[in-house]
């Protein structure tokens, strides 16, 4: 499903970073641990096609991302990848439902409000679907971000530090939702974090050193 082999990424500062090899099967969940600067976020960006590797292979579902044009990478990201950012990056002036349908539209899919609404209900946000995200709590907003990540039925869900700012109870709850959401669309889940509290919930653990 996912193969990252011998990958090196060059930054504009001139620094090169070597990414450890990673493999992940479909419907598997992997947590990548490591301190800041070890390449966890870079791995997420590589797999999302937001950056390209200087050397090596980054392949998702048999597609070598280096072979894709920028436009094809955009389309791949829209339909094959769901991302949950640490800062969520939702559209604050839009409602929870609009955030989801906007993701459908940006991916080039037809807007399906019923599906979007069902997803919010699945994540316990039925009553808040018409509330602007700016008025939701962090926990509620995080669930909107998870719904947005799975709305286009991606093959892989990537999450960058999804629990690092949460207390134990909320971290466990958020993680459960994320894992359940990935299972609901039969997607592989890769979480990059330095938060060791969540390790036991994953089928595999890989540490970047």
């Amino acid at each position: 499903m996912i193969t990252v082999e011998n990958v090196t990424v060059s930054y504009r500062t001139g620094a090169d970073i070597k990414i450890p090899d990673v493999t992940l099967d479909s419907a598997e969940s992997l947590v990548v641990l490591g301190r800041s600067g070890q390449g966890k976020s870079t791995l997420i960006h590589l797999l999302a096609g937001l950056i390209t590797a200087q050397s090596g292979v980054v392949s998702v579902a048999g597609i070598n991302l280096a072979d894709l044009t920028e436009r094809a990478r955009d389309a791949f990201r829209a339909n094959s990848v769901g991302i949950v950012f640490q800062k969520l990056h939702l559209f604050l002036d839009l409602t929870a439902l609009e955030n989801i349908t906007f993701a459908q539209n940006l991916a080039g899919n037809s807007i399906n409000e019923t599906h979007a609404s069902e997803l919010l209900a699945f994540l316990g946000l039925q009553k808040f679907q018409d509330v602007t995200v700016a008025r939701l709590s962090h926990g509620q907003a995080q669930r909107v971000a998870i719904a947005r990540a799975i709305v286009n039925r991606p093959k892989i869900i990537l999450a960058d530090e999804p629990t690092s700012s949460l207390d134990d109870e909320n971290a466990a709850s958020a993680l459960k939702l994320l894992i359940d959401a990935a299972k609901s669309v039969n997607a592989a889940l890769l979480v990059a974090t330095h938060d060791r509290r969540i390790v036991s919930s994953f089928s595999r653990v890989q540490e970047f050193v």
Binding site: L50, H89, L106
Partner: protein, 424 residues
């Protein structure tokens, strides 16, 4: 939700940030629209009113004043001229039509003009209603459309004029006019005048002159003044009246273009103090002056448009900076660079379009206020007459807005997603 909906939502949220730019653009466009519309309507109405008149002969004085008073009924006349001028011009082979006008009285602020039926050859107007007809006898009156509408007078009604060309003069109660005709609206000067035979004006003023002299005699001699003396005076007056009744001006239409080179000079060379005023020359001067002033104000309006455009570009870059992370999120969700370009470009275009359309309506509203407050050479201004000029001005502002929007739009398309998402 789609990009257009997103665009409208963000514009609504940020409307307070755009209000100054929008107002500047709207006022700039409004200024240009208002002035261009004013200039074209005044010029076309003025030229239309004077289109049949090649020359005006009036008492020695300013040529422009003669035209303003005798053609447009705006200024006061420079004085009177003798009927000999009219006779001489009428017999000149270079003159096709010579129409006398004699002014001095008014009714409800509208001027009473003593003239001949030929006046309507120079200022063509249809009669309104089948009962209307041209004046035949002294104190018959034909009303312009605006006079009839304002006074509510109908055929057969009578009214009394008052002395002078403005409101508040002494009323000539012993000389009532009878309405025999009402003219259909033309949009020109003829709408605002009352036409009557020359004899009506002469009769009123001879009587007034006579009355004034009697009063003067009474003050000097009172009842002791001899009848003989009076009889002598009356006799003298009758002689003067018969031979030398005056008129205010003569409106001339030439029979050939050659006359334009000869007749004005001939009139100016007369020893009896007559000035030949040529509307084409004077109106060219006048419209040039008007265009000069309008050009200056237009310059100010264009400056406003330029300022608003500068404001737009700064505003779009500010919005780009503020929404950089949202735009980067869109890229992370799969939006192409072209989609981001379209959103920022669309924002600028939508704002420019709104400002331009708002400006056109505001421009016509300003025109409406202007025509309420000022009499612009007596012409009727249709404030809500939208023209191709409006489309051109709005189109120019929109084009400028589109060009300017493309700069921040290109920047939006080139956003570095990772950097933008990691910005604090």
């Amino acid at each position: 939700m789609n990009p257009l909906g997103f665009l409208v939502r963000t514009l609504k949220t940020d409307l307070n940030k755009w209000i100054v730019n929008l107002s500047l653009l709207a006022f700039g466009v409004a200024g240009v629209v208002c002035l261009r519309s004013l200039e074209s309507q005044v010029a076309s109405n003025v030229l239309s009113d004077a289109r049949n008149i090649d020359m005006v002969a009036g008492a020695r004085g300013s040529a422009l004043q003669i035209i303003m008073s005798a053609v447009f009924q705006l200024d006061v006349p420079t004085g009177n001229i003798t009927q000999q001028v009219l006779s001489d011009l009428k017999t000149n082979r270079g003159v096709k039509l010579a129409v006398p006008v004699s002014m001095g009285d008014s009714f409800s602020g509208f001027r009473v003009i003593g003239t001949t039926p030929d006046y309507l050859e120079l200022f063509p107007a249809e009669f309104a209603g089948k009962d209307s007809q041209i004046f035949k006898s002294a104190f018959d009156a034909v009303l312009g459309a605006e006079v009839a509408a304002s006074s509510k007078l109908r055929i057969g009604d009578t009214f009394v004029g008052s002395h002078g060309l403005g409101n508040g003069g002494e009323q000539h109660a012993q000389f009532p006019y009878k309405v025999v005709g009402i003219l259909a609206a033309t949009g020109g000067v003829v709408d605002r005048v009352i036409l009557t035979p020359l004899e009506s004006v002469w009769a009123v003023h001879e009587a007034q002159h006579h009355h004034a002299e009697n009063e003067s005699d009474d003050e000097a001699g009172g009842p002791h003044t001899s009848h003989h003396h009076h009889d002598e005076k009356d006799h003298d007056h009758d002689t003067i009246h018969a031979n030398d009744r005056k008129i205010t001006a003569v409106l001339i239409k030439f029979s050939s273009p050659l006359s334009a080179a000869i007749i004005p000079r001939m009139v100016n060379d007369r020893p009896d103090g007559v000035t030949a005023a040529v509307p084409a020359v004077e109106l060219t001067r006048l419209t040039a002056l008007f265009r000069g002033v309008a050009g200056l104000i237009s310059g100010g309006a264009f400056l406003l448009i330029a300022l608003s455009m500068l404001g737009f570009i700064l505003g779009l870059y500010r919005a780009l900076r503020e929404r950089k992370r949202e735009l980067a999120s869109m890229r992370a969700l799969g939006a192409s660079r072209a989609a981001l370009f379209s959103i920022v470009f669309g924002e600028g275009t939508l704002l420019s379009f709104s400002g331009a359309v708002l400006g056109v309506f505001l421009g016509h509203f300003l025109l409406w206020i202007v025509q309420l407050k000022f009499s612009l050479l007596g012409t009727r201004i249709d404030a809500w007459q939208f023209t191709m000029d409006d489309v051109l001005v709005a189109g120019a502002a929109l084009t400028l807005g589109i060009l300017i929007s493309s700069l921040p739009a290109f920047s939006a398309g080139r956003i570095n997603v990772i950097e933008a998402l990691n910005e604090k």
